[in-house]
Symmetry: C2
Subunit: 141 residues, 2 copies
């Protein structure tokens, strides 16, 4: 975490399992937990171990190609994301996600931190709500 630009560790050797994970990841629009991810792969007929799912997702997080989010219960959820810094607007009901950017927020966090003498600043900003679709279906039900 602290040694951001450190020398990247030797790239991971590509395998069938990693390919399956990457594929499913790219087809997912929402944040998914490792457990669910594993279940879906299995359901799709892929033969992948749970440990591998965790390992692969983790290395992708470190590589910056996947974002991780902690739900209220503390369970981690993953999603393929563009590599540049951004935040998320997540539907509490269906987990659909919109990537958003906010230069103003970036500036604000840095300013606040500096103001209090903090250095090596990072931040997390997540917005949760109910998407239009889910709101509609709830109302209709």
């Amino acid at each position: 975490m602290t040694d951001r630009g450190a020398s990247a560790r030797p790239a991971r050797r590509p395998t069938r399992q990693q390919q399956a994970i990457t594929d499913l990841l790219e087809r997912s629009e929402e944040f998914v937990s490792a457990q669910t991810f594993h279940a879906r792969l299995r359901a799709a007929g892929e033969r992948v171990g749970l440990a591998t799912v965790y390992r692969t997702l983790q290395s992708m997080v470190e590589a910056g190609t996947v974002d991780v989010l902690r739900g209220d219960d503390g369970e981690a959820a993953y999603r393929a994301c563009s590599t540049d810094h951004h935040h998320h607007l997540v539907c509490r009901s269906c987990a659909k996600t919109v990537e958003v950017e906010g230069p103003a927020v970036e500036r604000w966090t840095d300013a606040v931190a500096a103001e209090h003498g903090f250095t090596q600043v990072t931040h997390t900003v997540e917005i949760f709500g109910t998407c239009a679709e889910c709101a509609a279906s709830t109302r209709t039900r």
Copy 2:
């Protein structure tokens, strides 16, 4: 989470254990995990069960007198906080915490959410860094 202003459940009966927890909570400037909290109470000679620590902290969170924060490892940390909406600037090294407010951020999150048709919006914003003191001691070592 969704039923914010719901009728508050019958207030909890005050006990020696809850008092001990409240006291320690008010003397803590930083976010502390339930496990650590329990250990400190024990170390201080208080006889309180772990389950009670969890239960009490949780009800305080629901009551809004305590804020909860999830670390990178997913472990929850608690801290007594003023009841009005605010965010935190937390030292990654000593967990010292500063409460901060940002009207601009509040407006931004609402605007972004509305823009995408999301309703019942909430958000989390946390800033992490190294406080001046910790930075100094690290440099000195």
